[in-house]
Amino acid sequence: MNSEVRPGTKVVLGIITAFIAVWLIAPMFIVFPLSFTDDASFQFPPRAWSTRWYESFFTNPQWTDALRNSAIIGTLVAIIAATLGTITALAINRSKSRLSGTVQAIMLTPLIIPPIIAGAGIYTFFLKTDLVGTIFGFVLVHVTLALPLVVIAVNASLSGYDRSLELAAASLGAGRLTTFVTVTVPLILPGILAGVVFAFVTSFDEVIVAQFMVSPALQTLPMMMYTSVTRTTDPTIAAAAALVLGAVLLAFGLYQFVVVPLTRRSRGRTSV
């Protein structure tokens, strides 16, 4: 392809691409400087600097409780969704059943159908069953939203998977469980880890269905942020956003520099 594209064209394309790349990632970084504003508004650039909005975040039990709830829910969702999703992906991948395609389509539904539809249904369902504002209800609903992502991530790691390794283990006398724990799981671990992260992030950022499940006693961080932006101009949300973004960038760094190299090593080939 290189030989087919004239240098001039390539430069123009490069400029367009750079513009798009900046538009994709640069805007979000504005929350970092804004979180250190001294103003009681979203005025930007700030007229003076302070850490008062971080103080406000960490001394207000509403915000800290929301952060704690989101962390608990996200962790439980990540564990449950990763377990169910890994089993599901393996089962679909190995089944010779004609139904496996249909099953996969069913599992991926929550990714495509607008979440507000299930959310509105969950609202009345939870009111009737007293599940509103319970961690239990929150976790299981978020598991359904996170499952497709785990299935996709594990599926991706199964695409380069060599089943003869399992046969080799079995032929050397390993039982089914031993084979699964010592051969299968380590090989698809990068996919499972990616699924864990995807599931956590999905739950940790979920607003659309969450607004039908929260109660005054159980708020989540994204819900607090969302209602704060739509109702007030309290810069505490900027501190919250900066904390979330910082954590996300840390997780992304871990994925990129720990999980991806693991994938490459286990697959023995480079891919993006």
Partner: protein, 314 residues
């Protein structure tokens, strides 16, 4: 000695296999396929129970509720299509989703093409940039646009230097378009890049050696070959745009409400469960129609919705 039971088991199994294999191969195959289905469903039972109770059941109540709440009949549909406000929101959702899709395709095409002509190192970096948004909170990213686009934000302050007193971008359809396109662009880049990277560029070399100018070779060979990726990316983008909630609610005014916003307002704000249900029904219907088209295009071009989604998230 410890191996003895295993060996016997193994030989027993293999005799059984040979016996049944030689006896009735046809019925055996059928039986194993039936077993395969049964085992598959058994293994997936926990996932199905969770999905069934906490996803499909609530969704089903919406679809049924559209026809039965508060009483059986079509009164909810009459209400939806009888009120101009609702029809306006439906149109707005479709039109904004359409323009978001157009913007995303126009941006994603050169971006993806550039990905195919750069060194693997640059491509890796650009992929990182495309994938970062998948990891970042949508609430945080949309909040960042609120800061940027507000009248007292950096763009507004900059424009004041040129005498523009009020930027007037926040709470407009333009603001919603900017925010939504940013979130959805990666979903379009990935399928288009996937298609482009498989195009055999020797076809272009052949065209040029036969005397075609580069632009002619591009338009008559490269463009048609990249269309399947463009089509699947565009349809996926459109479907996802239809269900958007956070971006229109945060960046748009009350006049930029989407169907999703309307559902929330009817169900939670006004306790009009049947009205919310009928809007949900309409939203799902439109989504399924688009997905049907996507499936058809996918079949024609050898991909599937799952592949597209899989390719975009994994």
């Amino acid at each position: 000695m410890a191996n003895a039971p295993d060996t016997t088991q193994f030989s027993a199994l293999s005799t059984q296999a040979i016996k049944s294999g030689s006896a009735k191969p046809n019925s055996q195959r059928k039986k194993s396929r039936g077993n395969g289905t049964r085992n598959l469903l058994l293994i997936l039972l926990p996932s199905f129970i969770v999905l069934g109770i906490f996803y499909f059941y609530p969704m089903l109540t919406i679809l049924v509720g559209a026809f039965t709440d508060p009483q059986v009949g079509l009164q909810n549909f009459q209400w939806f299509f009888g009120e101009q406000v609702n029809v306006d929101v439906l149109w707005r959702t479709l039109i904004i989703s359409f323009w978001v899709t157009v913007i995303c395709v126009l941006f994603a095409f050169p971006f993806s093409f550039f990905l195919t002509i750069v060194t693997p190192r640059t491509r890796g970096l650009l992929f990182l940039i495309v994938l970062v948004p998948f990891w970042t909170s949508m609430v945080v990213r949309t909040f960042a646009w609120v800061i940027l686009l507000q009248d007292s934000g950096p763009i507004g302050e900059f424009m004041k230097l040129f005498g523009v007193q009020s930027l007037g971008l926040i709470r407009t359809p333009t603001a919603v378009l900017i925010g939504m396109a940013q979130v959805l662009l990666p979903f379009v880049v990935l399928p288009i890049y996937a298609t482009m990277s498989k195009i055999d560029t020797r076809l272009l070399t052949a065209a040029r050696s036969l005397g075609a100018r580069p632009s002619k070779a591009f338009v008559s060979i490269y463009l048609p070959l990249s269309l399947p990726g463009v089509a699947s990316g565009a349809l996926l983008c459109f479907v996802m745009a239809l269900g958007f909630y956070i971006t229109p609610a945060m960046l748009g005014g009350s006049r930029e409400a989407f169907l999703s916003t309307l559902i929330q307002g009817q169900v939670q704000g006004l306790a009009q469960w049947g009205h919310g249900a009928v809007i949900g029904f309409v939203l799902l219907f439109v989504t399924l129609v688009i997905l049907g088209i996507t499936g058809y295009v996918g079949k024609k071009t050898g991909g599937s919705v799952q592949d597209m989604v899989g390719g975009s998230k994994a």
